[in-house]
Symmetry: C2
Subunit: 204 residues, 2 copies
């Protein structure tokens, strides 16, 4: 039995797991589950993840795991995606926890409310834009003098953060204001073999 991944292909949280599995050449079966369909609240899915969130995985032996960054860590441990140096590994985790607390709840949520719930910008909580902008500014600073967020190469931190950062334009954020973030998005996309997101046009 192989690994099953339950994910929504429009969700950055789900895509980051996919990118890690693809990069590490882990064999898996992707089961598409639209978060807006209500399926994540059905008993069949709650048996996989009682929190009702995607992504969630079921291993071949039936055991389950959820939380995108925990799944990435499970597969990333011992690979070049997790820095060997203890301090740099801790910095990677700093970014991973920061992403879930200070980035995703603003940048991903604003994108979702605009693009999927079709709200107008006036209807949105202004905090989403303020804190999302602060998150992008924090990344701009964190990338000062470095190509990758933690360690000297692509790590789980870059993969986790790029997921919604590259879609920030859909949330009404102007990535052009953050040139280091822009260049880093392109760098991570190249490393992952993703199509370049057109949101990010850095002047030459």
């Amino acid at each position: 039995m192989t690994l099953t991944v339950f994910g929504d292909s429009t969700s950055g949280n789900c895509l980051k797991v996919k990118w890690v599995l693809d990069r590490l050449e882990v064999d898996y079966r992707w089961t598409e589950i639209d978060v807006r369909s209500g399926l994540t609240r059905r008993p069949e899915f709650l048996a996989v993840n009682p929190s009702g969130q995607v992504p969630a995985v079921v291993f071949g032996d039936g055991r389950t795991l959820s939380q995108s960054n925990a799944i990435m860590t499970f597969y990333g441990e011992g690979t070049p995606l997790v820095p060997e140096d203890r301090y740099e590994r801790a910095r990677m985790f700093e970014w991973l926890f920061w992403e879930q607390y200070s980035h995703e709840p603003y940048i991903a949520v604003r994108r979702y409310q605009l693009g999927y719930l079709k709200k107008s910008p006036d209807e949105l909580d202004p905090k989403l834009f303020e804190r999302g902008s602060a998150a992008l500014a924090r990344m701009e600073q964190g990338l000062d003098g470095r190509d990758w967020l933690a360690g000297g190469a692509l790590s789980l931190a870059d993969i986790a953060l790029v997921a919604y950062t590259r879609m920030a334009g859909d949330g009404g954020f102007d990535l052009g204001l953050y040139p280091r973030v822009c260049a880093w998005v392109e760098r991570v996309e190249r490393a992952l073999g993703l199509d370049a997101s057109t949101r990010c046009l850095v002047p030459a």
Copy 2:
């Protein structure tokens, strides 16, 4: 030079770092910083953590680290506080990420708004109570048939989750509705040598 921890003693995020350091007998100097004083927005502190959040630590060599769960992971790695088994370690991380995304933003925030900002329950976003209650219910289920959240002993997951769960009463949550959570709070408090929180009275 020893480790310096910048923390607010009323913050569960800061206390969890303290508990881990104490348990592992790490030598440190605690610098109290009241999050309501505005000090975390001053340049001196932003040089330590550009995100302006406590806890944050400065190592003897001047390097810095923030995010409570990342600091705990840095010190916990290779100790009995992190399960040796790969899957159980992943479950520990699942709880750590879940804590920052689905527990702290509701239970800690409701406690803060009631206890520190002195808001009345009527002024609060109803989502705080709904999602905080859902988080406690999720823990109640996660503790079914087990004494600890991940692995067979106290781990970083228990320490991270107990921090604000034991204070949930201050946020208007009735822990008596979650008997397994109650018994677990007492278990973790005993393991950490903390005073028993009086919020949690489990019928014999």
